[in-house]
Structures are given as structure tokens and as C-alpha cells.
Symmetry: C3
Subunit: 206 residues, 3 copies
Amino acid sequence: VEVVTAAELAGVVTFAISGVLAVSVRLDWFGVVVVGIVTALGGGTIRDVILDDTPVVWVEDLGYLAAAAAGAALATPLARWLATGSRRRFEEALQVADAAGLALFVVVGAQIALDVGFGAGVAIVSAVVTGIGGGLIRDVLAARTPMVLAGEFYATAALGGAIVYVTLDRAASVPELPAAVAGALTVFVLRVLGIRRRWTVPAITR
Amino acid sequence: VEVVTAAELAGVVTFAISGVLAVSVRLDWFGVVVVGIVTALGGGTIRDVILDDTPVVWVEDLGYLAAAAAGAALATPLARWLATGSRRRFEEALQVADAAGLALFVVVGAQIALDVGFGAGVAIVSAVVTGIGGGLIRDVLAARTPMVLAGEFYATAALGGAIVYVTLDRAASVPELPAAVAGALTVFVLRVLGIRRRWTVPAITR
Amino acid sequence: VEVVTAAELAGVVTFAISGVLAVSVRLDWFGVVVVGIVTALGGGTIRDVILDDTPVVWVEDLGYLAAAAAGAALATPLARWLATGSRRRFEEALQVADAAGLALFVVVGAQIALDVGFGAGVAIVSAVVTGIGGGLIRDVLAARTPMVLAGEFYATAALGGAIVYVTLDRAASVPELPAAVAGALTVFVLRVLGIRRRWTVPAITR
């Protein structure tokens, strides 16, 4: 449990950083903190409200909020510092860290739904909402159509890993730990492959 | 009850289709599914969260989610297939179906609030939120000011029917079924008349 | 308690008016009412949902909803009437009233969290969410990046007052009334000074 929590906090920090760096609108210090918090904790908040698993997780443990704020605070100096030299390498590292955060959030989202007693279908929805909900609200705040709905190979990776985890855990009776690792690895590998090979999801609407 | 549920699922499918077709931004397959689900189930979700009638309806019965996803999946091929020939006729049919869905959602929204024990005022708000909430979130995701707030004769139709239903049910002690039919018919007729006669609601702000 | 409620209703009316006047998109009568209600009651609604203090406050007491709708209805004629003459003076009066509303909402938001049994951290978050949440949703509906995230000295004033109130109430054991007055005054003075002296919060992102 301790390990999972440490990993979760690392995921929160990472999501906050990548959330702030993904936004291209002008923000002041408060805007940066809000965008970081919303990106990192928005998905889990929607999940908790919809599953009625309230109060939401970051109200019960302020460590999440502190981690998100810390990530947001770090984002801008970090980006500036690394820009002198290899901005590109930093962005790649960040994308990999973001993929790891996504993998973790997807599995945690599914686990929470299953623990509360919901079935496989709700668990998969919960996994995807936890993984992508934060980025979705972030883009709404930035007044643009969410990236995750329009071409990026992100939600598909989350969905793939969620299905793998829930299927192993429920249908195949694989113990929780290996099922979780397999699900998280699926998300991570799909997402990193998607970035490396520039996979895009074709547009359907005009 | 069985009939209502069948009608509700039909309403969900219709809302998902009209939601996807109303959006003019580029979406991939996941975006289409999310927009369909959000349009069809967003209003009911806000209602359930605000009334604290949780877990929200589609978490308790995944049929709603499946119906919304099916509607979203159907939307694009349906539109393409019918475009060869009479796109216009298809759009008219869709608007009528959407009006029927709106009528149903408004009455269901009011009924749920009354069943949970709330008064007439909350029931009317619940009816309108259930009817228009989904389209509102859809437009927020598409980064545009919601159509329902700016000129279309849509919310007014919903409000009119909600007042008719709640008044008949509470103040006039009309039995539930005729009250519901009268409320739904009010919404439907007002909305269809609004489309046919191109009624618009005048802008108030600049 | 009676006094607080009267003040709260005044705050709701003020927020609804300033919310409608802050929006620069075309809205019909329904849009105006929705924007007024959302600006006035949106922050409290998010707070209640996140703290699981549901049903949300305006469902339990429709007076809030009526006050918000009244404020929205007043906004346009009021602005027009005063435009003949001293629009500028009206806008200044409105900003001062809005600052008073913000001060009140911040303290009420903190108080509710403390009353429900949460600690100082959650109370500060609750205060800020209650104060700025409505304006944030309003701007999302108007499809623009929320003003409160980008340069205006608004959230900083709210945060300052929240910290003052919660610190006095918890750490310094000051009785509730003077603590609340000190917190509200801090918000009000900071906000009014910010307007008068044109304080802005520097942008951090590009």
C-alpha cells in the first residue's frame, strides 16, 4: 500500500507538470496551480463523484493536493532550466513520465471501482475517467477541444490497459498484483509506442 | 416501467446521435463516443449528482452507457448513408426524434425529483437540467458557447413542459400518467413548432 | 443566522448581476438566467459536491435560486438604465458589491467545511472554491479562459482572506465572529485595493 501511495503521489506530480506545460494560454500563478491540480486530480474527482465514493480522495488526504501544487510550481522553472540545452530531451522524458502516470491512474481507477463493489463495465469506465478526466477538464479551462478527443493515441492506450487489467482480474482470476502490473504495462507500452511511432487516431467527424 | 425504460433507451440513442451530428470540431473514434455519451447522459448525471441520487443512473445500469455508445457509433455512418439522397429529410427526422427525446428526458427528470421527495421548484429545475444538461456539456467540450443559451427555442420548450407536468401532478392532482403525457406533449409540440416556424429567442446581451 | 442569510442572498444577487455583465457573448433570456445562476451558485455547488455536503444548498432552499434568477433578470435593465448617465460609476459600484460578495462567500465556504468537521487545509480550499468557482464555470460556458486564472487580482484576495480566517479560528482560537469579520475584511480590502490600484498578477506561462 505504501509503495502504491508513493507511486500515486509521483503520478500526481507528473500529471501536474505535464498539465501546466500542455497549456498554451496565459496563466498567472493561481492559474498555473489550478491547472496543475485540475490535471492531476480532476479525473479522480469525477470518478469519486460519479461512483459516490465521497468525500473525494484529495479532501481526505491533503497530500494529493500538496503534490499537485508542488508539481505545478515546479513546472515553469523546470521547463526554463531545461530549455537551456535540451528542451527536446526534457519533453521526451516528460512524455514517458506522463505515460507512467497514465498507466498508474488507469489501474488505480479500475481497482477503486472494483473495491467499492462495481462490476467489470463500471471498472473500465472508472479507469478511463481517472486516466483522462484531468486532461479533459484542463483543456476545457483553456477553452479548446480536449486533445484526448481529437487524434492523440492516449485514450485508446488507457482503454486497452483497463480492459487487460479488468479481464485478468475478473474473468481470468489472475491475482491482483500481476493483473495490475499487466494492465499498467499495457497502457505504458501502448502510449510510449504511440508517441515514438507517431500513431494518431483518425478523425471521424469533419 | 418496462415501456418507460425502452423509451428512455431510445431517447438516449437519439440524443447520442444528434449530439455527435451537432458538433463541428474534429473528433476521433473516442471523441465521438465521449460526445455521444456526454450528450445523452450528461444531463441525468448532473441531476443525480445535485440531487445526491447517486450512484448516477448509468453506473447502476450499464444499458444506458451501451445505448449512448451505440448511438454515437451509428451517427457517422448513418449521416453518410443518408447524405446520398436526402440529407435534409434525415436532419428533419433527427430533429423530431431529438424533440421526442427532450420531451421524455424533461418528464423523467421531474419525476425522479418528485419521487425522491423534492418539491415542485426542484422538480422543474431537475427537468430542465436533465433535458438540456447534456447538450450544454457537449458544447463546452467543443469550446463554444452552448446553443441552448443563445437563441434556439429549446430550453423554453423544456421549461414549458416541465411547468405543465409539475403543475398538473402537484397542484391539480392529475394522475401521473396523463400529467406526464401532457408535459411531454407540451415539450414536443413547442419544440417542433419552434423548428418548423423558425422561432428564435431574442438575444438580450450584446 | 438570519443576518448571515440575508447577507448571503444579497451576495447571490450581486454575483448574478456581475456574472451576467461580465459575459460578452450573445445570450437569450434563458442564457442570461443560467449564467446568473451559475455565477452565483456554481462555487457553492462544486464545494457541496466535493465535500459530499449534499443535496447542494440551493436544492434545500429555493430562495438561493430565486435570488440568483432575480439578479440575472435585473442585470440587463439595470445596466441599460444606468448607462444613460454614469455607466462608469455603476461599474465601480458593482465591483465593490462583487468584492463584498466574494468576501462573504469565502468566509461562508471556509465555515461550512469547518462545521462539517474538515481541517484547516480543506477549509481554505473550500473557501477559495466557493468564492471563485462560479466565475470559473461562467467563463467556461462563455468559451474563454477563466479571468480568475489569468492576471486579475481576485483569487489571491480570496486566498489571503481564507488563510486569515482559518488561522484566526483554528490556530489563534479567536471566536468565530471576529475571525469571520477579519477574514471577510481581508478579502474585501485586498480586492478593492487591487481594483483601485490596478494590481495585476503577472503571467507565468507564455
